[in-house]
Each structure stands twice: as structure tokens, then as C-alpha cells.
Assembly symmetry: D2
Homo-oligomer: 348 residues x 4
């Protein structure tokens, strides 16, 4: 098979840059065009200094886009739904990294996003972008909506439990800790270094949009409830979800281990982390930096029916660009790990 | 009234040093002796470099202690119960900052600490050391057991709700984020900078001892359950508790605000933080660094009966030395804020 | 003596906030007014969240200022020279924390600041604001120009050597590491957390304005040369100057120690740090956070005539607000340490 | 050509782990054995948690080593000279990452290392391991001694200037800022997180061993002098050298640019960074994390003959494992960039 031609819309942001970095070293991809309004006409490395010496690509405008095989959309939330009808004329296949097409149900979208969806008829055409849940559908998909970073971390951590009907469906509390790159590249007083560094900021104690994705993906026989909060930490990359679920039956840690092994034993990007000792006996997002791994661990509360599940990713990788490339590999029948082999740095 | 004579046992650790710093500038205290085995005979500022130019005190040994008015115990957990009978001969009054005498019930102690209590008959003689809950008892107390840092953060955040019987007693989930000074001054590979920095370490997902204190102090008419986890972050000082409680009735944020105002309106060290905008609209432990404040905020979940309560302290201050000095002031009838006036730094 | 009335112009920035914090707890000061354009009419704690519960002051406008005893100017560089003629009608005494009146020579100002000075005739009326150098002049001064933070760190580190004519006057290289609060409260993409954190940014390898102050203050018999660079680190507060000077004669470390003792032995805010072991055997700015100390250490190069001098301060304290208050105390005959007793936190 | 067999001695430390990570993904290398005394018999990922799922190698003992093509030595300083005679029986070729064979002159070794060299006759058989300086010799070399991290950063920054005889040879001052991974994997109170984080520690103001390498490699016609200091910052990885050199003639920045272009224009791992604007207009070590790049920039002082040269690397990569692998590629005639293609992360 020849190389697949792809273009990236919104390639000067953090997610777009991470995707660009991955695509540059992917053996089967030809990057056709990359767009940016703020960096129009400039070299890619002006926006992404890590790409110095790595590429001579320049940014163009959206209206200069030529036909291509696949479009990656790294547009701000709310943008892709407005222009999706144009985009699907440019490319047969689309991977949208924004939040616009993640929810199947327009009512849920409007409940959580507090805005009207301008392209609701397309909602059902998008496959929700977590390969570990929807790999089969992805193989034939035209449109994929990459999952939210916090949603990915939580869903991957809890999927085997919900899939197997093991937890009380209305009690789960999820506390996510996130890095500052989640907020994107736009600066403000909120992200001013002396304000933001050393801070533990409760940025979304309730009402976080990613909760809607989690509910959608973990509701099997009946609709579940997720009590979700997010706290911003001082790290740049990384998402750590600490999920408190309450088991219907008294499962041992060994039982739970087997459930995870069964669900994820063959997954190339899931590592089950459960060690008796050592500094990294639970998942730690810093070990995921730059990788496409989702690390998952757990601990049974000896004094109640609680199980604490801990899952970690790099929000820009497994939570955005890496996951999108994994989906791309599936769509085109490539080895799923192509371009995603980086195993992470230690120490870091 | 003349100055009160006090001595500190275990004054070379982080908590002991913080206490020493406070006592040096307290107008009504005379520091009689400070003990340390590892720094025996050395100047205090060899252990606490911030005290250069601030004191010429030297460390002595425990068996060199003279009679004094009050002893502060900054001994490692498990030590004070062994030697308490000696200590009460040295001083009429004692404030123990370790965990040995926090729990009233020896069975609870042995359940959570996994060790035998060697001095259980004294357990009931200690007043649990959170002034906001036990101020009246403290006025006549001989012995006070300072509360654990994570327990203090959680209890102060939730006390008005439990006291007023407003929450479902078995559903609360508390997720505490802690700084590395909680682990004390002893180094190990776990605290080695390249290992520890940038890390989000789930150090106690279940079974944390401080849960026992929380249960004890928040059980009013019946015994409650607390689902408690602790995650270590990259900060040195600070504790942030994110508590998810489920309300029995549908209270508005205004209702809740009034409940907190009523409980804490006159408290010198509680700040209720609830603003519509700004970087610090929720409590942030970095603003508590060096202060004795506990900052408390909250947010109602619009989609369920959940209330998220956020509380923050400096673990070495309100969570240890500051709280102990506040208790001291109460015991001796001084203004509660004496020596605790520092309002914190911004930016930091 | 009654309380001195003071007002602060530009009190909503980082320096203004730090000064306000200090003045609030100063026993002999009455804060009359504080100005801010961006926070006009709001409470001080809206700009400075650490001052919650500490003050009920509100910001007013500059044109609402009433007569007062002393004005502190925390205006942006370039502002105070424009309005100084108004300010001196409002108050008899002025302490200007900006850079406008630090240089005596208008030509030097225009060389380093690359702008015209609009009020050059006042330049000579200002005393340069480092108390350790100009204490006597300050006692009778009407106008004081507080020194730059990097200049303060460097000058205090090198003053005894230059004063005594011990170093080659054209070879000194000074490498200053600075925290991000030096840049002030205004956010930009340069200070965006994911950009700025973890960064070591060479922000001014040559041409730094503070070099002019250093040259002015350390030139005794002939004009010296200082090869100055500044690198921004990840810390919020703190300045560390590593100064490489070349000795004219072969002095031992003991000789040098005596020179510093002679110069600074009675100084309340200078600590000479030279220990054989320990984590803080050289000055470290983190131990200065919140304090008015300048810590100074040194080491002789055994293989050349180089002496490395290391000096550290908190840029917002000894490098700005603390130094200004120390000067104030001198001007009004108060104990120099009044309101500046905080000894710093450890660990931090 | 078939795969080259290699073994690593001391593979459980930070440098050994980084090297192992690189070798695992090198297409032409077969990792035969890895040794560790502390992790004997355990999986590699027990020492290096980033290698989970990446390798099933286990650590063996040094006396279990079999013959191999090349040995990488990641032994502590002082170890390899003791055992080198054994090692050269195990492998024809050796790359030593320790400091034992970097200096050609035994007297210099003993001056800077303050110890006797036990194998001085081998000193001249080692090629100093910076490819940009000694590529030709490396092609036929049997033994290579990898350069020190601080030395690499400084030498690469200054080499074109010294090679071309452009600087005053006794005036250069080099101020290096280093991350905490330079100190290795062994923990101590000096590296305890609350002590080390936020610290700017002058750990070697004079007498740093790497100065000897710099002097050796930059002395062309006559022996030069380097005034070297190192300050430890809060970062884990990274070295930034700020070098102050004094030019013999008045070169413009354009002249200097051409000198660097000429020296490094074809170098795959040198990036000359000199931009007019942007957050990364000078080299910043955080952009080098995980890469083999050395980024170099400079600025002419308009008021003197000083040139400030700024160079940055990842100390574990270009300063250790990456540089060693680059040398390996040269020794065996492979493309120099093989296994070193990672371009770094942004943001990070």
C-alpha cells in the first residue's frame, strides 16, 4: 500500500503539534497540509520548537486545503460542527479530536455543553474514538471522534468492571488530576506562571463535560451515574483518575486482576500496574509522558466494598494525538502501534 | 502573667522545626529546652537553616530534660505512648503532635495502626486537638493530642454538615492531595528528587490511618463511613481535601453558605472561599503556606444530590505546629492568634 | 511618636501587594490609601488573595489621593518620572520602587533604558535604596529610590570586595538566576504555564539594566565593568547571583571571611553562609522566601585567583518591598527590623 | 551486516537505563546481557519502570558475562579503571561512560579527581567521546570514553571559537545549571524531595572535574583556563551552560553565526538557535529532554568584547547514553542517527 495522505486542521496548537510530531515519523503517512490562522505561512517549528530540524512544513489556511485521504481536526471545541460539511468534502475520512461529535445524543450534548449542536444529524455517524472499546467499528469507520482526555483515562480504568456489571451504578466517584497542557496553548492570567505553579486548583468540581462521555460509554444495561471532579495540578502533561467504585459482590484483588487481564491482556497500550513495592507500584502519569500507554492499577478497601481504580495517561498522547493515530492505524489496517513505539523516559 | 516555660521533644524534624519557629516569636513563651538525638549538642539552625540568626538554642537529650510547664511532643508515631508516663512527670501539660493518642477507642487504634497500644488507659485523658471542635474542653485540658493533617483538613471541611445531620452517612468519598513534607525529614529512594518530582503518587488509596480520626470526629448520632484516599503531589507543603458528600435534602448553595457561616463565622483561622471568578475562587493550599488558616469552599452538583467540599491547609501549620500552638493559646487563656498572625505570601 | 500615614501607588501588582502585606502588620504605620486602576473600587484581597481576612482596604484612583506623610510608588518603570512632580506635592517623602530614579547620571539612564528621562533634574535628589550602603544618607533623605532586585543581590554580594579595592575591576562576571515573579503580574504567552514551567530561559544574556546600578554602586575610585547575564528559572520568588571575581592578591578564605564580617557583622539582614556540610552550605534563595535577608557565601578557586561569591534574596522582599520598608524604618528612626521579622519557612 | 552483540555493565542506574531504552529499539543491536548487583536476577523493568512491556531482559552479575562484541560501561566513577583489564577480555570494543578514561594525562586526572589512577597506561588508548570533535578517530577506535555531561555542553558550545583561536584563553567563565538526575540514582538527605525541590544549590562553585575535560579539549595551541561553576536547579534532566567568552577581535553576530554554521552545518545533532522572538529564542534544556540534540545560541554584549554562548542538552542523552550510542554508530559504520531519532516533546 502506498502512503496515506493526510492533513491537519488547527495544527499550531498543543494537540496539533503533538499529532504532527507523530505523523512526521510514521512510515506510511504523507503529511499533505497543515493549517493555522495564527501561524499562517510560517514554518511548523515556529509553533513547535521541538520540530526544529524535523520538518520543513509550513502552515497554510483552511481555504487552501486540497483533497486528501484523511483529515485530522484539532480545532477548538464548537468549531468542527460548524464546518463539518465542508470538511467531509475534502476528505473521505475524518478523525475529529474536538468534543463536538463525541456524544451520540444531541440532548446530552446540549445538557453538558450548554450550547446548541448545529450538525446533530452527523452525531451518529461518528465512532467514539477509544480503540479498546470500539476497535471493530473503527475498521470500517469513515468518521471517528477522538475521546476526551479525562474521559479516556476514566473509561479505560473502569470499562472491565462496568462491562461485567460488577459495580453499583450510581455511586462511583471519580477524581481526576490534570496537567496544564489540557487547557491548551492560549495564555491568560489563570495560566500565568506565578499564579499557576505550585497550585492545586479545583477547576471543575462538578459539571465537567467529560462526565457525559463516561456515562455514555459505561452505561451498558442501564444508565449509570458518575460523580466527577477535576483538579488541576502543577504538571504540564498527564491525567490521573482515581475512581472510587463500590462492588456488588465481594471480589478479591486476584479476581479483579483476572477481570482486567481478560479485558486487556492483548491490548498493546494498556499496562496493568500492581506491584507490592517500589516507587511506581501504582500508575503515575509521569511515566506515561510521550507514550500512548494507559496504565491501570487498583486496590480493594479492606473495610468496605470500595475498590479504588487508578488510571494514568499522557493527555496529549493517549488522551488526544496518540489515540487518534492509533485509530488511524486501525482504520487503514496498519499495525496499531505504528508510530507509537516510544516507551517513555525514566527518570523524568 | 509571666512567660510559660515549654520544651519540645523531637525538635529537629520538620514539625518540630516549624513549632520552634513559631515559639521563638511568641511573646509569652520561654523555650526552655529542645531535644534531638541526631543533632545532639548542635545549634537549632543546623537542623533548621531558616532559623539562622533567629535563635542560639542547642539541642539536648531527652534524659536531660528539666521540669517545665508544658511539653510539646514531636516524636515519631509509636514513641509517645511508650514514654508518656515519663513525660507527664516532666510537665503538667502536654501537647502530643504524634498519632498515639488521637483515637479514644483502643480497638480503633489497633484496627487502623496495626499495633498494640501500650498505654491505653491514657487515651481518654487526651482532648482531640482541633480547636474549632473542642475549644471548650481545651480550656481546662491537661493533655491534648494534635490532629492529623489530612484529618484536620477533612474534618474542618465537613464538620458543619455532619454536625447538622445533613449528609448520607455511608457515602462520603474523600480524596486528599498531600505534599511531600508530610512524609517527614527522613530520606529514602521513595523521596529521591528525580523519583519524586513531577510524580502523582497514590500513596494510600485505602486504609489510611487518618480515616479513623475523621470517623471518630464526624460520628454524631451513629457511626459514619468515610471512603478515604490520599495522593501525593509534587508540592512540599499543603493538603487539599476534595470531599464528595451526598445531601439528604436539596439544599441550595446559599443554604450551605449559611450553615458554614453559622459554624465558622467567628473562627479566626477559617476562611470560607467562594468567589465567582479569579484564580483562587476555590481553596488552594499554596495560599495557606506558612499560615494557620483552613480555607473551605464548596460547589453543588446540579445533576445529583452531591456536594463537593474543598478544604486546604498547610500540613505543617494548621495540620501540625500551628494547630498545636493555637491549642496552647487556648489552654493558657491567651489570644488564640498569638504567634499565628502570618497571613501567607502571594505570589508563591 | 504617632503613626505615620502612608499611601501606595500601584498597589495591585505583586510588589505593591507584598508591600501592603508588610505595612498591614507594621505597628507604626497607618495605611491611608492604596491605588489601582485595574482593581479600582475593589477590596485589596481581590488582587491579593493572601490578604483575605487581613484587611478591608479598597483601591482608589491616583487622582483621589490625599496628602500623606510618605508615598510608596510601585508604578511600572517609566511611570514615576512622568508624574513625580505631582507626587511630591502629595507627600513630603517618597520611596520609589521603580527603576526611574536609581541612576544618578542621566546619560547612563539613557544608555541602559534606551529612553529619554523626562525628569533628570530630580535624579540627584534620590538616595539609592540599599540601606547597607547608604544608611546614613537615608536618615535625612526625602526621596529614596529602591534598588533593583538583581542589582541588590549582586551589590550586597560584592560590596565589601570592591569597597576594599580587592578585585580586578574589569573581569567580574555575574550570572543571576531569577524567579518568574520578577516579571510582574501581567500574563503573556511567555509566562503561560506549559511554556514557562521546567524552563531555563536566558532572558537577558547581555544589556540588563540592573548592570548599570551595579556599576554605579561598586565604582569607587574608577569606573568598573560588570559582565552580567540573567537566566530565568522555574521558581516564583528568589534571586541567586553567582559572581566570579578575580582577586588582586592571594587572599585565603579566612581573610575573605573577615572582610565580610567587618562589613556586615552588625547588619540585621545579612547572613554570611559558609558551612562545611549540609544541604544549605551555600546561600539558597528558597530559604529567603518571605524574608528580608540577603544570604552571602563564597568559595576560593584553588587553581586560579578567582573567588566565587554567591548571594541570594527574595526578589519581592529584600529586592523590593522589604528593602523599601527597611529604608522607611531608617527614614523615620524606627528599629530597622520592624515589620520585617519573618525568618522564613523550612522546608519549603 | 548482522546484529552487533552488546552488553551493559551497571545497567540498573539512570544512565544504564537510558542506554538500555535506546538499545532496545536500535534495529542493528542485540542486547546480550545487562548487569546489576542491586537488581540481580530481576527484570529490567523493576529498575526502569518505563520499560514495562518493552523488554523481558533480566539483570545478571558481572562474573556471568559472556564474550560479546562491545561492552558499555555504566559503572560508578573509579570502578572501570579497576576492572578494565577484565573487561577488555570480554569484548573487543568498549565504550566507557564513566569518568575514568576521559583525561589523557594521568597528572591531570590525579589533580582533579584527587585519587590515584590504577590503570594509567590505558589512558591513551581511549578516544574522547564527543563525535563532533573526534568522529574520524572513532571510526577505527576500540575504546571510547564518553564525555562528561557538563563538559559536553560546554565544549560543544565553545569548540568553534577555540578551534579558530578567537577568544582570550584565560578569561572564559562558564556557569552550568544542571538537573538532579546528574547525581545518579542513589538517594540521600541531599536529594530528599522537600530539601531539593525549589532549590538553587551551588553544588560545585570551583574545582569541578569536568573543567579538566573542557581544558583538555579546547586547548589547541596553548593550554587554556576555564573558570567553571555548577549550580543545581529543580529540573530532573537537562544541562544549560552559559559561557562568557571574551573575543580577541570585534566580531559581529553575523560573523559568529557563520563560524558556527561552518563548524556544525552538517552535524545531525547540533541545532543553532538564534531567533528574534518567541519563548525559545535561546536554547532551553527542556526542549532537549529525551533527544540527542545539543542546542547552541549566543549573544554579543554591545558594551564590551564579551560573547555569551548558551548551550543545552539532556544530560542523560547527549551527555551520556545518547552520545555513547552515537559513538557506537560511528564505530560500526551505521547511520549516526540510528536509534536517536526522537525529536523531543513540546510542551513539556
Amino acid at each position: 500500500m502506498g502512503k496515506i495522505n493526510v492533513s491537519i486542521i488547527g495544527a499550531s496548537g498543543y494537540t496539533g503539534g503533538e499529532l504532527l510530531r507523530l505523523l512526521i515519523s510514521h512510515p506510511n503517512i504523507n503529511i499533505q497540509q497543515i493549517t493555522s490562522s495564527s501561524y499562517y505561512g510560517k514554518f511548523a517549528h515556529k509553533a513547535h520548537p521541538n520540530l526544529r530540524k524535523a520538518t520543513n512544513l509550513k502552515f497554510c489556511a483552511v481555504d487552501e486545503l486540497e483533497k486528501t485521504d484523511l483529515l485530522f481536526l484539532c480545532t477548538p471545541h464548537g468549531e468542527s460542527m460548524k464546518k463539518m460539511n465542508e470538511f467531509i468534502n475534502i476528505a473521505d475520512k475524518i478523525i475529529d479530536l474536538s468534543g463536538d461529535f463525541r456524544l451520540n445524543d444531541v440532548k446530552e450534548f446540549e445538557k453538558w455543553y450548554k450550547q446548541t449542536h448545529v450538525n446533530p444529524e452527523l452525531l451518529n455517524k461518528f465512532v467514539y474514538g477509544i480503540p479498546e472499546l470500539h476497535r471493530d467499528k473503527m475498521k470500517d469507520a469513515k468518521y471517528i471522534s477522538s475521546a476526551g482526555c479525562n474521559a479516556t483515562t476514566t473509561i479505560l480504568g473502569l470499562y472491565p468492571l462496568y462491562k461485567n456489571g460488577l459495580v453499583e451504578i450510581d455511586r462511583t466517584v471519580v477524581e481526576v488530576k490534570v496537567g496544564t497542557s489540557e487547557g491548551g496553548k492560549k495564555s491568560s492570567f489563570a495560566t500565568h506562571h506565578p499564579e499557576r505553579t505550585g497550585s492545586l486548583r479545583s477547576y471543575k468540581p462538578t459539571g465537567h463535560r467529560h462526565a457525559a462521555e463516561i456515562i455514555q460509554e459505561l452505561s451498558f444495561n442501564e444508565k449509570i451515574q458518575i460523580h466527577f471532579s477535576a483538579t488541576s495540578t502543577d504538571m504540564v502533561r498527564g491525567t490521573l483518575a482515581t475512581s472510587h467504585v463500590f462492588l456488588k459482590e465481594d471480589l478479591t484483588e486476584k479476581d479483579i486482576w483476572q477481570i482486567y487481564r481478560q479485558a486487556y491482556g492483548d491490548e498493546p497500550f494498556i499496562r496493568i500496574i500492581k506491584e507490592k513495592e517500589g516507587n511506581y507500584r501504582y500508575p503515575d502519569p509521569k511515566l506515561c509522558i510521550g507514550t500512548n500507554y494507559c496504565d491501570i492499577g487498583f486496590e480493594r478497601d479492606p473495610y468496605s466494598n470500595r475498590l479504588v481504580v487508578i488510571s494514568a495517561i499522557d493527555n496529549l498522547m493517549k488522551g488526544a494525538a496518540g489515540q487518534a493515530l492509533q485509530a488511524f492505524n486501525i482504520m487503514f489496517g496498519f499495525d496499531e502501534t505504528l508510530g507509537l513505539e516510544f516507551t517513555g523516559l525514566y527518570p523524568i
